[in-house]
């Protein structure tokens, strides 16, 4: 199957900074891609370019459309949630459901009402009377009722408590995602998406520094925990990162043979957040 998104040579310059620096990538259908990077790395700019919300240079093809020229058509196939609380504050639940049902050809009203029935939202309730968590529930009910090929989530759970966050990703995985859909998510709460991602993209200073599926990440990166007395031997192998836990040292290696490390200490699979910290450690320096 052909790629959902193909980008080549994507660049975007704001007045003084280069938000995207000659970025190229492909995203295949049926994937859940985590686009992860520190603040100001260019995540939101990349998403905005995909959604046709900003101008850029380079080639970008999203579901066969050029987002700069065919945005209206593209939005029939793409949904997005740009962090919490972007629903208009004056609108009522019944009004927003009515509106989306009548302007979106792929919206399934009964599905949406079924999702809403699981929440405490009332038809006459206005967005301004809701908590952040409830707004996200409403937005998610709307989006999940749309049969879109691509869903883009930009910090969808920012500022939510853990119950809402868990519920959010649970619903997404159980009731929405299938092999015909693609989800791109940016977030800082890496631990929470780690289990659901199929692909990982790290972005830093407008450049993609890591683009791999999770299996490849598991093979490429290895952590080894060693006692302090052997630390120097391990350092000679040029680890990516080193940290101390309970008097032991944990080293992160990129593309070093497992057999070579096994003899030195206990091998572990690095978590995405450890990988992230190791990759980005000099970002703010």
């Amino acid at each position: 199957m052909s790629a959902v998104i193909t980008a080549s040579g994507l660049s975007k310059r704001y007045k003084s900074t280069l938000a995207l620096d000659n970025v190229s990538f492909q995203i295949a259908p049926g994937r859940i891609v985590g686009l992860i990077g520190p603040n100001g790395a260019g995540k939101t700019t990349a998403l905005k370019a995909i959604l046709g919300l900003t101008d850029f240079t380079g080639e970008l093809n999203v579901l066969g459309f050029d987002p700069r020229k065919q945005r209206d058509k593209l939005m029939g196939e793409v949904c997005f949630i740009a962090d919490v609380a972007v629903l208009p504050r004056w609108i009522r639940v019944s009004e927003v459901v009515d509106f989306v049902a009548n302007v979106h050809p792929r919206f399934d009203r009964t599905k949406c009402e079924a999702f809403l029935a699981r929440t405490k939202l009332q038809a006459g309730q206005r967005v301004r009377q809701m908590s952040k968590g409830m707004i996200v529930q409403l937005h998610l009910a709307l989006v999940m009722a749309i049969d879109a090929k691509l869903l883009i989530l930009d910090e969808p759970t920012l500022g939510l408590d853990i119950l809402y966050r868990k519920q959010f990703y649970h619903s997404l995985l159980e009731d929405y995602f299938d092999e015909n859909k693609t989800i791109i998510v940016t977030t800082h709460q890496v631990e929470e998406v780690e289990q659901i991602l199929t692909d990982l993209m790290f972005i830093r200073d407008g450049k993609i520094v890591l683009d791999a599926d999770m299996d490849a990440v598991g093979e490429r990166f290895t952590e080894v925990m060693v006692n302090a007395d052997r630390a120097d031997a391990v350092r000679a192998l040029k680890p990516l990162d080193e940290r101390q836990v309970f008097g032991k040292s944990i080293f992160l290696f990129d593309g070093v043979e497992r057999a070579q490390l096994e003899v030195l200490g206990e091998l572990r699979r690095p978590s995405v957040s450890d990988l992230f910290v190791a990759t980005m450690k000099e970002t703010y320096a």
Partner: protein, 323 residues
């Protein structure tokens, strides 16, 4: 087409307060003031032994009027009907002004634009739905409310007079409520065309300004006007300052106020020349006077400028985001 209908509906939901309740409340206050005035007149009349009634002045009204008096009474009643709409029209001017100024800015400020833009709606559809609300929906609601309030006032006045022995039905038949209604309704297309440059300018600023659209919308034309006047005073470049203020600043900012066309026309005596001498009706509010505007280049130049500005607003709507 269905999408456009729902976009209009969306605007109505968001602006129910200013589109619907503002004219209704204004009309209600207008009626209340009139009723208070009538009661005051009655009370003062009774206190001073001045009787409007059967033996009084008004007794003559039904029985002894000649044709000239009749037409004066009829005119007075028509004016009473218009006056309700006139007050609502002033409110409408403010409503449309601030609606246009916020229409493409408020959702960028509160970031809900990101939600609207996530739906398959074209930017031209969005902007045009706002134009339609400002130039058709809001004026239509105002006119309907104005007509209802005017009729109510007419009935209240007739009822009051009937207590003083004047034949209510005779009075009511003297007025021309249907002509008044027709005049008011047929004023809407003229309003649409006349208001277009201001609506266009305000929407343009609303779509373009990164912050404080009101300041940009007002300060830009006024500052330009001041510079033009300054050069004019110094006699440099011979810029036509009066023309600029009248045809650019005023047209760009105040055309959303109904009747502003007539006011700007009053300065131009030639515009009255074509009114047939036998034309009936109430001076500047007469339909003939309004439709005469269709023959003026000022109207059509404004329409062109307005359309250009709306096109600009659509372009900026496409590329301005929440940042």
């Amino acid at each position: 087409m269905k999408t456009f209908y729902w976009l209009i509906k969306r605007e109505f939901w968001e602006n129910r307060g200013s589109f619907l309740w503002a004219p209704i409340i204004t009309g209600g206050v207008f009626l209340l003031l009139n009723i208070m005035g009538i009661i005051t007149a009655e009370v003062l009349g009774a206190q001073h032994g001045f009787d409007f009634g059967a033996s009084g002045v008004l007794h003559r009204v039904g029985t002894q009027m000649d044709a000239g008096d009749m037409s004066k009474v009829a005119l007075a009643m028509d004016v009473a009907m218009y006056s309700a709409t006139a007050l609502i029209a002033v409110v409408l001017g403010f409503v449309v002004f601030f609606y246009c100024l916020g229409a493409l800015y408020d959702d960028r400020r509160d970031r809900s634009i990101l939600f609207w833009k996530s739906l398959p709606i074209s930017d031209s559809g969005t902007v045009l739905s706002k134009v339609a609300c400002a130039t058709v929906l809001a004026p239509a609601i105002a006119v309907v409310v104005g007509i209802i309030v005017g009729m109510a006032l007419l009935i209240i006045v007739a009822l009051t007079l009937s207590f003083h022995g004047v034949n209510m039905w005779q009075l009511l038949t003297l007025a021309h409520p249907f002509r008044v209604m027709a005049n008011l309704i047929s004023y809407i297309p003229i309003y649409l065309l006349w208001a277009l440059p201001t609506v266009g300018w305000l929407l343009f600023c609303s779509a373009w300004a990164r912050n404080k659209p009101f300041l940009w919308a007002v300060a830009l034309p006024v500052a330009t006007g001041l510079i033009v006047t300054w050069f004019d005073i110094m006699g440099l470049f011979r810029l036509p300052a009066a023309w600029f203020w009248g045809n650019v600043v005023q047209r760009g900012l105040l055309s959303v106020f109904p009747g502003s066309a007539v006011i700007s026309n009053l300065n131009d005596p030639s515009s009255f020349r074509h009114v047939p001498s036998g034309a009936q009706g109430f001076g500047p509010l007469d339909l003939w006077q309004s439709y005469h505007l269709l023959a003026t280049p000022a109207l059509w130049a404004g329409v062109l400028a307005g359309l250009g500005l709306i096109a600009g607003a659509i372009w900026f709507r496409r590329w301005r985001d929440d940042s």
